[in-house]
């Protein structure tokens, strides 16, 4: 019996291993992903025969050399990567795979969530997590014919967000608002959520929801958080939107999704196009969700955007910021970034 030798390496520490991994992936028509924290490698007599990558709680770049395919090696590889993740306190895992490998990863204890046909399948390592999540959402369902939704990163919450939410709420019997949970933005989730909560508190037909791993998270939409690096792949947006259409929308009876037009950011603009396709046009057994694109609020013919606020913040220009954000956001920014605080924390803003 061949001895299998497992090891874990960080890609940046081991360019040679990365070259071998790239070759192994290429043999399975897969590409190496630069967003990988750690790789599990399996060698037999020094030859790399299997690999799997972990990025936060996402497993990707899994390959086994053709002549070593057979259940036992793959299952060992699966055990290794799952325990490696557990050692990093990551238990709820997601996995990206070509759809034809579904059965293989089911053997790893992963269950299909959504699939972009013929391209990519997203799985998670729980048979009940998505159902439990939807059960909790369903408790917050509100009656009505037209049930709207919007998803905000609110980094930070501006008058533009408020305008979008107010218009959407006026348009619908009920509106569900989600705040992106991932802490990959300039402002911490807690702060972003608090500012949204404060900003929308007078709107009576609205439920504000905590974000989750199933809505624009690193797991379901990694590209979203890379946008400043301008690296993006369309299939990421599709996965995120299909999750919304297949699970979140039906749980809350959502019929419409509202989004602001995007004049500045090409990535977000593409996301809006993808949204129309995957939520309402793409063939699916799930009910379509109509996308409503509202023109972005403009002040003095300049569209209001969170990125503009962040830019002004680095310049310490609170007079200009005042025109773009509600009083609650302004108070928060002044408290956190003016004068003394600015020299310490302002430097981190990009």
């Amino acid at each position: 019996m061949t001895e299998f030798d497992f090891s874990a390496v960080r890609p940046e520490d081991s360019p040679q291993d990365v070259e071998e991994v790239k070759a192994l992936l290429a043999a399975s028509q897969l590409q190496f992903d630069t967003e990988i924290e750690v790789l599990v490698l399996c060698r037999a007599r020094d030859r790399l025969i299997a690999c799997a990558g972990l990025d936060h709680n996402v497993i990707k770049c899994v390959a086994v050399a053709k002549d070593f395919r057979g259940k036992s090696l793959s299952l060992r590889l699966g055990s290794e990567i799952v325990h490696l993740a557990a050692g990093r306190e990551r238990f709820h895992l997601f996995l990206y795979s070509p759809p034809h490998n579904r059965d293989l990863f089911q053997g790893w204890g992963f269950y299909p969530l959504v699939e972009v046909p013929d391209l990519v399948l997203l799985m998670e390592n729980s048979p009940i997590a998505i159902k439990s999540y939807c059960d909790l959402l369903r408790l917050q369902k509100s009656p009505g014919n037209r049930i709207g939704s919007c998803v905000l990163n609110a980094n930070p919450f501006t008058l533009g967000h408020l305008f979008l939410v107010e218009r959407a709420a006026a348009d619908c019997d009920w509106l569900h608002v989600f705040v992106v949970r991932e802490d990959a933005s300039v402002f911490a989730y807690e702060d972003r959520f608090a500012l949204v909560a404060e900003g929308v508190k007078d709107i009576s037909n609205l439920t504000l929801h905590q974000g989750s791993e199933y809505i624009i998270s690193r797991a379901t939409f990694p590209g979203y958080f890379l946008k400043e690096k301008a690296t993006i792949d369309h299939s990421w947006a599709a996965i995120d939107l299909l999750l919304f259409r297949a699970y979140i929308g039906p749980a809350l009876g959502i019929t419409h999704r509202y989004v602001g037009t995007e004049p500045f950011d090409a990535i977000t603009d593409n996301y809006n196009l993808d949204m129309k396709y995957w939520l309402q046009e793409a063939q699916s057994t799930k009910e379509p969700i109509s996308v409503v694109e509202l023109p972005r609020m403009a002040i003095n013919s300049t569209p209001v955007s969170a990125s503009a606020v962040r830019r002004l913040l680095t310049e310490g220009d609170f007079d200009s910021i005042k025109n773009l954000v509600p009083a609650t956001t302004l108070d928060f920014l002044e408290m956190k970034y003016s004068t003394a605080a600015q020299s310490a924390e302002g430097a981190e803003l990009k």
């Binding site: 259940k71 036992s72 299952l75 060992r76 699966g78 055990s79 238990f91 204890g109 048979p127 909790l136």
Partner: protein, 98 residues
């Protein structure tokens, strides 16, 4: 006892099992079993897991078992060790476990 934190124990290899435990948001005990031999031995596997959990007095948590045809004592040992890790409890009554 309650499952207070996530833990994972075991492997996916043949004749073993992987046990994942996690806190339960709805405050219930949720047990999900997948086994390659569920048709032949599903009832026995379920019984061993239920007995092990009740001996440990587990009242709340999510328990997910991916069984690869493990024998009863392996199932018992894996479930025990997953629960003890997940319960974050130092108190351990070894007599209950036997």
């Amino acid at each position: 006892m309650k499952i207070a934190k996530e833990a994972i124990v075991g492997t996916l290899e043949s004749s073993d099992l992987l046990v994942k435990v996690a806190p339960n948001d709805s405050g219930i005990l949720d047990i999900v079993i997948r086994s390659e031999v569920i048709k032949q031995f599903g009832k026995q596997i379920r019984r061993v897991i239920d007995q092990t959990l009740s001996k440990l007095e587990v009242s709340e948590g999510t328990i997910i078992v991916e069984d690869k045809g493990a024998l009863e004592y392996a199932i018992r040992a894996r479930v025990q060790s997953a629960v003890l890790r997940g319960a974050a409890s130092e108190e351990l009554n070894w007599e209950q476990l036997s």
